[in-house]
């Protein structure tokens, strides 16, 4: 009886764990391009954090119904 939002959340956080740790990190690891003046890897982690907020938003919406 798992809801779609729960499945998305599970998948996202597993992907985030892999995407933000080695060995996977070695594939994307680079200094450029800068975004808003920040080096690429800082933006990489920030993007995963913003994505996590979107997933929490999805769960929040699902729980309201």
């Amino acid at each position: 009886m798992k809801r779609p939002a729960t499945i998305v959340a599970f998948a996202y956080f597993i992907a985030m764990t892999i995407g933000c740790t080695f060995p996977f990190l070695g594939i994307v690891n680079r200094v450029r391009p800068f975004v808003l003046g920040l080096p690429f890897m800082m933006v990489w982690f920030a993007a995963w954090i913003l994505g996590a907020m979107a997933v929490f938003g999805l769960l929040y919406q699902a729980d309201r119904r």
């Binding site: 060995p23 800068f34 890897m41 995963w48």
Partner: protein
Amino acid sequence: MTDWRVVVGVVAVYLIINLIVGLRAGSRSTDTVAGYVAGDRGFGTLVMYFVTGASIYSAFAFLGGPGWAYSRGAAAFYIMVYGVLGIAPYWALGQWAARLGRRHGYVTQASMLAHRFENRNVAVVAGVVSVIAMIPYVALQMQGAGIILEHVTDGRIPRALGAAIAYGVVLIYVWRSGVMGVGWTNVFQGVFMLVLAWTLGLYLPYRLYGGVGEMFAAIEAARPEMLMPPGLDASGAIWAPGAFTSAILVSALGFMMWPHLFMKAFAAKDDATIRRTILLFPTFQLFLIPLFLVGFAGVLYSSAPDSADAIMPHIVLTSGLPAVVVGLFCAGGLAASMSTGDALVHGAASIAVEDVYVGVTKRSLDQLQQRRLIRFLALAVGIVGYIVAIVSERSLVGLLLVAYGTVVQLAPSVYGAFLWRGATARGIIAGLLAGTSVTGLLVLQPSWRPYGIHEGLIGLTINIVTLIVVSKLTTPPGAEHIDAWLATARKSD
């Protein structure tokens, strides 16, 4: 030279505002234990947001974050990641715990476990482990406060005195107001330190390099390895990728196991408050970015501080900022330290009384006696933490690693309670004891760790294996009790 009297004046005003906010907050709750420890289960989203945010935005983030960015570069990015990964499971755990707490009246994580496993000794052991983990964390916050005051006054307020002043204020408002004092001062402290962090984090790169992008371009040209994970280790060599990964994993697993954090599920007004708090929490992770910017601004800076942890006060003091701004910075740093330290002191004292004292003596205290005992214990925790802070030779990061290695040992018990019907009280106790002892041993004998893996992860493995084996050999609580308990957890209101 910055006029230290102006700095001290600004800090004094900040501390007085804290006292007023903290003392007034106490009149908002009842005189019961639930009032003193869990705020009568009435915390709204605003307070919950800052209480959870403060836990990541501690002295460690305010000094250690820039310190790591400055000395170890991209290694510091692990701090951004682990908080979000760490709070995600709380979407389920926090709401489950909150429902059980409303039904059964828990105010601590350990008492929740004791009821689930129908054994008071579970609370005693989990409570002792919690307090052991929290003491070095309190000490770390105190050291941070001391370092800041010592630097900005050029040694006129020595580290030990600075820590004593800041935590004297904390103990006064925790004594009077309990968790309400912690919650409402955290709101004030949180707003304050965020404004300071963003102002400094954006201003310093402009002032020193002409912009954030310009600063990173200069670092890229001189030391590109600083901008790519895993960054550097303490000696300046490239950090092991495995160490970067295991730092994220241990911290993420341990994050919501922090008793002062987990027990706030019992303070939340309703389930929706917990959900909103988690939804907003990642913003605090992004607020670490300006702190890292300050640290990176130090990489090519003309002079070096005496230790990496002091890069933030060092730059602030030597880059010609007006004294009022230096004072505000100092207050912001104290806010980061105090907003975490107060919750720790309060949480550790509550657990020591609710779980350890009541569990061991089997005495039933009335509400007022219990509250008085928690107050005295808060004082005691403050004093013990202070002694550790003064005596310990370890750096801020070193203290944090010890604390996380211990607190992560609570994870199998909490997950076991919700997810494994076969777990038994003896299994939980044996796992906690085995995991904590192994971790403690490896802290004392770091060379015994295979491949330099974090001691907390090794302890955790032993802990889980012990929990499973001992549970298989003993009998779990009756199915009826577990069914009812789990049904309460899963049923939304």
